[in-house]
Symmetry: C2
Subunit: 252 residues, 2 copies
């Protein structure tokens, strides 16, 4: 059995908890890491309170192979992620010369590189920078923790830079079987299928829309042949209940 | 000073962690609870693994005034929230007669109320039902934990039913000052404003879009007069930096 590589996503920011901002970083990281064979096993959203961030970083980095944080690395007073990461690791926060150089080149005018912007060059000692091709201020890696921006376009660009550094597992493959059989009708057979295929993760996601109701049955696993067999059995189950299965590759 | 009423949102489901499904329940609950003066202080997303759910429920219910769970109360094998809630509270899971009656009325045909669907009537002992006006299968409250559906339309309908039961605090009011002053330029003055108004929560959220860049500065608090004063000072700060502030009521 392949060793499973696990990750946790730590979303930092009052604006996510208050509902002002709809987080989309978790879904992006869940999909992108899944393609690399890394399973996101937990996510936490924490406020801009230092003790909360430090505690969450330390709890999560001890439990998972990787932790990805998003948010709180900008120039304003509410951007406190880096000081919290330094505290969590018990290392000093240092002005990183390479980060200063990148900010300097980005702003082009030394007068613009004020104390607030220089906060974005304060990086925990021992961290390795992660490029930010959009707005220069870098993310970084310290041990198994990756510290990324909160703005989705910047976070995604940073992720592309760091992805090659990750230890990946066998990619998580998925098949989705959609049908209009009610969830309560297929539940018994679906549970039996899950028992026959314990290595697969089988989920049932009902939907209700203007086009009527239905259910997406998602099978996930790393062994393609096993996935295909289980998908075939699931299609037969759907047909036996009077449904018309539609199979999609991926978690449609 | 008014006592702050706090909440935690616990999102249960592999599909959120894998990125298959974009969660929107946290943002809805964050906004809706904020309007009632209840602050969401943490959110966690946990997989369909019993030990993880039980541990998260117990950690969160001890720390916050309320916990709201979403997901995992349907009829299929991956719906394990209720058994986990029962384990977390150390109470039996019982077939609730009123829940059975509602399901019976909803399906209209006893043959349809199979074992899988009856799982939706298995409720931890001592819980109080929360109506589900859409698909009958109820949510419930046990102590300070509210157990809700994962499908957003059903979760929202359940929330409307339970909202009057909540102990609420003074509503959280917000003002948003938008401008095109770069974040790094306004950061110093914004930090000083936060120091002058420690009871307010002032956040800075940059945006980058086809219409150019800008920043939304959000002030949140419960004292409207103080909020107005701080908003006025912030507008003056924006103008002193050559910007044009636009004020919106709420967290635009």
């Amino acid at each position: 059995m392949d060793p499973v590589v696990t990750a946790c996503v730590l979303i930092i920011g009052n604006e996510i908890l208050s509902g002002r901002t709809q987080d989309t970083n978790l879904a992006f990281l869940g999909r992108s890491l899944g393609e690399l064979g890394i399973r996101v096993r937990e996510a936490r959203v924490v406020p801009d309170i230092a003790e909360e961030i430090v505690a969450a970083v330390n709890a999560c980095r001890a439990r998972y192979d990787y932790v990805f944080t998003t948010g709180g690395i900008g120039p304003t007073h509410d951007d406190i992620t880096s000081e919290c990461i330094a505290r969590a690791f018990g290392v000093p926060l240092e002005r990183n010369p390479e980060a200063v150089r990148r900010l300097d080149a980005h702003y082009g005018d030394p007068a613009k590189l004020n104390e607030a912007r220089l906060r974005m060059a304060a990086i925990p000692s021992g961290a390795t920078l992660v490029d930010n091709p959009i707005s220069a201020a870098p993310g970084y890696q310290i041990d198994n923790v990756f510290v990324l921006a909160g703005v989705p376009s910047i976070m995604q660009a940073m992720f592309e830079q760091l992805a090659p550094r990750l230890k990946s597992g066998p990619p998580v493959l998925a098949r989705t079987v959609s049908c209009r059989v009610p969830e309560g009708t297929i539940a018994e057979g679906l549970g039996a299928l899950q028992q026959r295929y314990p290595a697969l993760d089988i989920g049932s996601y009902p939907y209700f829309g203007v086009g009527g109701f239905g259910v997406s049955l998602v099978l996930r696993g790393t062994d393609e042949a096993e996935l295909e067999r289980a998908t075939g059995e699931l299609c037969a189950l759907v047909r036996s209940l009077g449904g018309e299965p539609t199979v999609t590759v991926g978690q449609a």
